[in-house]
C-alpha cells in the first residue's frame, strides 16, 4: 500500500467490500469504546485516513506486551489495523536485523518527520544507561533521538508507562518510565502487565481514525478504557456487598465464585477494562478465573504490600514493632508512676516536718 493511499482505497484494492468495511468499522468502534452509533463516523474517518508510520521501540521489557498483541488477533479486524499502519521498526516482528534494521528506523524517522507514531514498551534504565542497549545505542539515547520528531508516543505496558517490574524495590537498574524522560510530546500510557490487546489496538485505531490522541485520565491513560475501576464493574460485586467472601483458594466460597477481597484482590484501587472487555477475546479475566486482581495497570503495583494481603490491611509494618512500642510504653508508665510516688513521699515527708 502506498503511503499516499487512504485506508478506504487500500481495503477496496484488497477486495474488501463496503459491507466488509462496515463490519470492520462496527468492530473497531466497539474496540475504541465508542457507542455503536459512532460506526458511521468511524467509517467516514477511516475511509479518508492516511497510513501513519509507526516505530516500535522495545527497551527493558519481557516482550509480554508484544506477545499479548500478536496473540490477540488473526486475519481481519485487529490485524487490519497493522496492515493499515506502516510498522517500520519492531524487534520481534521485523525480518531485518543489524545495520539494516537501524537504517530502516532512521529512514522512517526522516521521511515521516513530525508525523510518525512512536510506540514504546519496556522501561528505560538510567542508573547506568549501558544496562540496556540496542545496536550499541543506550535505550535512553534511542528514546530521546526517536521521540524528537514523533507526533505522539504510546507507552505500551506498565513498564513503559510507570516503570513496571524493573522499577520495583530496590530498582537496581534505575528504571524509569517514558514520561519521566520525554516531557515535550503527547504521551498515551496504555498500562497493564500486559495491557489488554484490544486496548492497545483500540488506541492505535483511535489515532488512525481521528488523527488525535484520545481523552486521557490523570495518569495519562485513555479514559475510555481506564476510567472505571475493576471493583465497580466486577460481576462478583454483589457478593462483596452481601459479605460473602472466599477465605482460601479452594473453600466453598471460592467454588461458588464469591468475592476475592480477603484473598488480596486489588480491584477497588485498580483502573482497567478487564471486568468488561476481559481477555482472550472476552473469555475471562483473573477474578473470573478465581484469582484476585493484582492491580497490574497501576504504578508500583509490585510494592503495594503483597498480592495476597487485603487492601484494608495496608502496608504498616509488623507486630514486633508494636510489641516494642508497648514495651517502651510500659517502661515509661512504670517509670512515671515510680517518679510520681517518690514525689508524693517527698511531699508527705516535707509536710510532716
Amino acid at each position: 500500500m502506498h503511503k499516499d493511499q487512504t485506508l478506504g482505497e487500500y481495503l477496496r484494492l484488497q477486495g474488501v467490500s463496503r459491507r466488509g468495511f462496515l463490519k470492520y468499522c462496527s468492530a473497531t468502534a466497539s474496540l475504541m469504546a465508542l457507542p455503536p452509533s459512532a460506526a458511521g463516523l468511524v467509517a467516514d474517518a477511516l475511509a479518508a485516513a492516511r497510513r501513519p508510520s509507526v516505530i516500535w521501540l522495545s527497551f527493558q521489557e519481557c516482550t509480554g506486551c508484544t506477545e499479548s498483541l500478536t496473540r490477540s488477533h488473526a486475519p481481519t479486524v485487529e490485524s487490519l489495523i497493522f496492515d493499515a499502519i506502516s510498522l517500520d521498526y519492531h524487534h520481534t516482528l521485523q525480518a531485518a536485523s543489524g545495520h539494516g534494521a537501524e537504517d530502516a528506523r532512521l529512514t522512517a524517522m526522516e521521511e515521516n518527520a513530525g508525523k510518525y507514531v512512536l510506540v514504546v514498551d519496556g522501561s528505560i534504565p538510567i542508573g547506568n544507561p549501558a544496562f540496556s542497549t540496542i545496536a550499541g545505542i543506550s535505550n535512553l539515547d534511542m528514546l530521546k533521538e526517536t521521540a524528537a520528531n514523533a507526533a505522539a508516543i504510546v507507552a505500551v505496558g506498565t513498564c513503559a508507562a510507570f516503570g513496571g517490574i524493573p522499577h520495583a524495590n530496590p530498582n537496581p537498574t534505575g528504571a524509569v518510565s517514558v514520561s519521566e524522560i520525554i516531557k515535550d510530546k503527547p504521551i498515551i500510557n496504555v498500562s497493564g502487565c500486559p495491557p489488554i490487546p484490544v486496548v492497545i489496538t483500540g488506541v492505535l485505531a483511535h489515532y488512525l481514525t481521528f488523527g488525535t490522541i484520545p481523552e486521557l485520565d490523570a495518569l495519562g491513560r485513555p479514559a475510555a478504557f481506564f476510567g472505571q475501576n475493576i471493583h465497580d464493574r466486577c460481576y462478583r460485586r454483589p457478593f462483596y456487598e452481601r459479605g460473602q467472601f472466599a477465605e482460601t483458594f479452594d473453600d466453598e466460597g471460592a467454588r461458588k465464585g464469591w468475592c476475592l477481597y480477603k484473598l488480596g484482590c486489588k480491584g477497588p484501587t485498580t483502573y482497567n477494562a478487564c471486568a468488561t472487555l476481559k481477555w482472550n477475546e472476552g473469555t475471562s479475566f483473573p477474578i473470573q478465573s478465581g484469582h484476585g486482581c493484582i492491580g497490574c495497570s497501576e504504578p508500583d503495583f509490585w510494592d503495594k504490600g503483597g498480592f495476597y494481603n487485603a487492601l484494608s490491611v495496608g502496608n504498616w509494618g509488623n507486630r514486633d514493632a508494636l510489641l516494642g512500642a508497648a514495651a517502651a510504653g510500659a517502661a515509661l508508665g512504670v517509670g512515671s508512676a515510680i517518679a510520681a510516688r517518690a514525689r508524693k513521699k517527698k511531699a508527705q515527708a516535707a509536710e510532716e516536718v
Partner: protein, 131 residues
C-alpha cells in the same frame, strides 16, 4: 485433567444485567414500532457474569431468519423470537468472536447491499457483457 474436573465448581454469580437489557430492548422495539430510528446495543460494553450471556441468547431465542455474511470472516445475523430484534455476531477468519451486537431494526444494515458495492458490481457486469 480428570483430577481438575474432580474439583466441584458451582458459580452462582449474577450481575443482574439481563433483565434491564431486556427492558432496554422492549423500549427500543416500541420506538421502532412508532416509526422512529433503530437501536444498536454493544454487548461487549456491559459486564455480564459467566452464563448470563448464554441465558440472554436462550431468552431471545431463534426466529425465522438466519443469515451468514462472509465478509472479512463469518458474521452470523439471527432474528430472535422477537421480530425486529436481531443478534449479530462478528467473527474473524479464524472463527473468533470479535464483536456482538443486538440491533433493533426492520433489517440490519449489514444485510443490505451497499451503494459502493452495487456500483462496483455494475462496472463488473458491464465488462462481462462487453465480452
Amino acid at each position: 485433567m480428570s483430577s481438575l474436573d474432580a474439583i466441584s465448581v458451582n458459580v452462582e454469580a449474577e450481575t443482574g444485567n439481563v433483565r434491564p437489557l431486556l427492558h432496554e430492548i422492549r423500549h427500543a422495539l416500541k420506538r421502532l414500532a412508532n416509526g422512529e430510528d433503530g437501536t444498536v446495543i454493544d454487548l461487549r460494553r456491559l459486564p455480564l457474569a459467566p452464563g448470563e450471556e448464554e441465558r440472554l441468547d436462550a431468552l431471545l431465542g431463534k426466529g425465522e431468519v438466519h443469515a451468514e455474511v462472509d465478509a472479512l470472516g463469518p458474521t452470523g445475523v439471527q432474528e430472535t423470537l422477537y421480530p425486529g430484534v436481531w443478534l449479530i455476531t462478528h467473527c474473524n477468519a479464524e472463527g473468533t468472536t470479535v464483536a456482538r451486537f443486538i440491533e433493533v431494526t426492520r433489517v440490519p444494515e449489514l444485510l443490505m447491499s451497499q451503494q459502493e458495492d452495487i456500483d462496483a458490481g455494475i462496472r463488473r457486469l458491464e465488462k462481462e457483457l462487453e465480452n
